[in-house]
């Protein structure tokens, strides 16, 4: 009985297949033509039609997916970025249209034509309007404990020194041939702060968003590889062995007043940094005040995760073959490492300089944590410090410059925006 049903279904399918040309013929369309149109519409045909660079980009996205999944290089961001890159480079899918954002502006009128817009165009609007980095900064603020910084405010200096790498890289990028806006966007990689880099680049050089985001997040994941040789080269074993005095306990009142004071003070002095600093401190106030536990948890988890997905996908979407496969990308990747290295070196050298005047010496290794990369850079300081002196615990001391670096890079972004924006 089952077999009879199978045969009947098969006969029906065959009949339908045989009848189709006659039905199509009635509408003056031949089966052959339909099949050719269908074949021409496939992505494979478009790949053969001179879009072979997309294949290279698909390959690169697969490498990034490998790094995210197998090597666990910042997987939370690298995975959506890599997948966004894969989606945008599928010929014919039409998910992202760079022409809608040409010239650094959103062409709102073109969004009316829904046939010429893809889902990634809509998601990318969040980056273009500067929404995602600010929302992520609220989450970062809610997850950050500024206690070590408040206990040792001198850490702010180390956070500032690590930003020197940004300006040095800006100058190097100018020499290479980038214009001022592009050079500033490349320089901010040295701040090791993903949301800040994306925020500044989307404002100054949106066409470089893909390479800069990939470079920033890749190098942030490579902090344990990049920083230790620089830290060891710039310090003696005796300096690395320095044991720092215990940090004082910071009261809850101090932690609550801090975000309010910093927001008001920095925003009044540097209004262009208000968006980033304001969001960071708002998140931190939610955490410290203790009366909005539900909101604080939402911001730290659900909101942060949702925004991370959108940010990653849309940043990956900008990495089209035309925008990514050129000499500029290669230069950005090389200069990005230099920015990271110079930032780390700046923090270590200032810590050494401060030791000339301080009674209670600070371990210069915590200076390298001045590049943001929270908390990876602080962990590296701890690990390198314990290699020299196993009884030394630098983690909490390094968290001070680490969170100061977040404030510092947001301030630098504000300065660059006010000059070049």
């Amino acid at each position: 009985m089952k077999h009879i049903k199978k045969y009947l279904l098969g006969i029906a399918a065959m009949a339908a297949f045989m009848l189709t040309p006659f039905v199509a013929g009635a509408q003056e369309t031949s089966l052959g033509e339909s099949m050719v149109n269908f074949m021409n519409d496939t992505g494979f045909a478009k790949l053969a039609d001179g879009n072979w660079l997309c294949l290279v980009m698909i390959g690169i996205s697969c490498v990034l997916l490998y790094l995210a999944i197998v090597k666990k290089f910042e997987p939370l961001l690298l995975l959506p970025i890599a997948f966004g890159m894969l989606l945008t480079n599928l010929p014919g899918a039409g998910m992202y249209h760079p022409e809608l954002f040409e010239g650094g502006h959103v062409h709102w009128a073109d969004f009316a034509d829904t046939n010429n817009t893809g889902i990634l165009d809509y998601i990318y609007l969040g980056v273009k309007l500067g929404l995602y980095p600010c929302i992520i900064f609220i989450g970062v603020g809610a997850m950050t404990d500024f206690g070590p910084l408040l206990a040792n405010p001198k850490s702010f200096l180390l956070g500032a020194a690590a930003q020197i790498g940004i300006f040095a890289t800006l100058l190097i990028s100018l020499v290479i041939g980038f214009d001022f806006k592009e050079a500033a966007s490349i320089g901010i990689i040295g701040g090791a702060d993903g949301p800040t880099a994306i925020y500044l680049t989307s404002k100054l050089a949106p066409h470089l968003l893909g390479p800069i985001a990939v470079a920033a997040y890749s190098y942030m994941a490579l902090v344990p590889v990049i920083q230790p040789p620089i830290m060891k080269a710039l310090t003696t074993k005796k300096e690395r062995e320095i044991v720092m005095t215990q940090l004082r306990k910071v009261s809850k009142k101090e932690k609550i007043i801090f975000p309010i004071v910093v927001t008001a003070f920095v925003s009044l002095l540097l209004p262009s940094a208000a968006a980033l600093i304001g969001c960071l401190m708002m998140g931190n106030l939610m955490r410290e005040c203790g009366v909005v536990e539900r909101i604080s948890k939402t911001v730290q988890n659900e909101l942060m995760n949702i925004t991370t997905i959108f940010l990653g996908i849309s940043v990956g979407a900008t990495a089209t073959a035309d925008a990514f496969l050129n000499l500029k990308t290669l230069s950005i990747l090389v200069v990005g490492v230099v920015a990271f290295g110079l930032g780390s070196a700046g923090g270590v050298l200032l810590a050494k300089f401060m030791n000339l005047f301080l009674k209670n010496k600070i371990n210069p290794l915590i200076g390298s944590a001045g590049v943001s990369a929270v908390p990876m850079a602080a962990r590296v300081s701890q690990i390198v410090g314990q290699e020299a002196n196993p009884g030394n615990f630098l983690l909490m001391h390094a968290m001070g410059p680490n969170v100061a670096g977040v404030v510092g890079s947001a301030v630098v972004a504000g300065v660059l925006l006010s000059f070049l924006g």
Partner: protein, 113 residues
């Protein structure tokens, strides 16, 4: 040629002002934080003292560390533990016969073979 095309004056200005503003702003923040912590400690210290006084008087129990220190000091002072009698005794318990607890009157005795 590229080097000549760059407006180095502007580049220098951005770099100098950028580094300067970042350092000045963060140094001022250090001063603001120090001022803030001083103000908080001054404002709340008097209230804190009042609030902590009764807590100190009511809590008469020494901390575990203090207890350990006192015990150690006493041990060192007396140079011995408590004296033990070193006599092992077996307490005799006399149970008189009672039919209420006797096994010979168990209800299942008849069934078990």
């Amino acid at each position: 040629m590229t080097m000549l095309a760059i407006d180095w004056g502007f580049a220098g200005l951005i770099t100098a002002v950028g580094i300067g503003v970042t350092f000045v702003l963060l140094i001022v923040l250090i001063w603001v934080i120090n001022l803030q912590s001083e103000l908080i400690s001054k404002t709340f210290s008097s209230r804190k003292k009042e609030a902590t006084k009764p807590a100190v008087t009511t809590d008469m129990h020494p901390t575990p560390h203090e207890q350990a220190a006192i015990a150690m000091a006493m041990h060192l002072y007396f140079d011995a533990h408590d004296e033990e009698p070193h006599i092992i005794t077996i307490q005799e318990v006399e149970r008189r016969y009672s039919p209420w607890s006797s096994k010979i009157y168990n209800v299942r005795n008849g069934v078990i073979k």
